[in-house]
């Protein structure tokens, strides 16, 4: 069983549409990170959120950490084909380790 559940598993949208990816858990996290991974490469960090209720924006990407620090979401506005990839959330509970979700595969069609 995954400590972090991501939904949906797959998402295919048209260029210009919006999308949201969810990352949920019953556990409380000290911090939560979002990574993006492209085929044949390792994950690359997009953002880290540490405070309950925190909202961070990275151009067209908006990340939110739940008030109780158990869940997070990633919202992409006006998606572009370059946003295509595997999006992974990862939570840290105060030890040295990250627990990763299974990932959401996003495909943006031109």
């Amino acid at each position: 069983t995954q400590l972090l559940e991501q939904s949906p598993q797959f998402l295919s949208i048209q260029e210009g549409e919006n999308l949201t990816v969810y990352c949920n858990s019953s556990s409380v996290f000290s911090s939560l990170q979002w990574y993006r991974q492209e085929p044949g490469e390792g994950p690359v960090l997009l953002v880290t959120v540490v405070t309950g209720g925190e909202v961070k924006k990275l151009k067209r990407l908006t990340f939110q950490f739940g008030d109780a620090r158990k869940d997070s979401s990633l919202h992409i506005t006006a998606a572009q084909p370059g946003d295509t990839g595997l999006y992974l959330c990862a939570g840290e509970r105060g030890d040295y380790k990250l627990s990763f979700g299974a990932g959401t595969t996003v495909t943006v069609r031109a």
Binding site: Q2, G42, L45, E92, K97, F100
Partner: protein, 112 residues
């Protein structure tokens, strides 16, 4: 800046063979990690190290061993390869726990 370098990129092993996956980082990071990634399962932590001479088990350590004799290197050893170890293996490093983990490009391992 090379970052995290993993070798080899691809390897096919026969059941029962052994091999070492190499990982080197040039960022002077204390923390290093080994993960395996299987389709639809995300990344699972195999072993991690908080500094030279210190290693500890992660979520899925069975069938693997590691060592950390220097800050730069963190090799992963498979002693008796099994088909269940077919996966993509990623090495990562970070300065501290909440800092970004920097990943290598992975080693794709098939055991037949």
């Amino acid at each position: 800046n090379a970052g995290v370098t993993q070798t080899p990129k691809f390897r096919i092993l026969k059941i029962g063979q052994s091999m070492t996956l190499q990982c080197t980082q040039d960022m002077n990071h204390n923390y290093m990690y080994w993960y395996r990634q299987d389709p639809g399962m995300g990344l699972k932590l195999i072993y991690y190290s908080v500094g030279a001479g210190i290693t500890d088990k992660g979520e899925v350590p069975n069938g693997y061993n590691v060592s950390r004799s220097t800050t730069e290197d963190f090799p992963l050893r498979l002693e008796l390869a099994a088909p269940s170890q077919t996966s993509v293996y990623f090495c990562a490093s970070s300065t501290q726990v909440r800092q970004p983990q920097h990943f290598g490009d992975g080693t794709r391992l098939s055991i037949l």
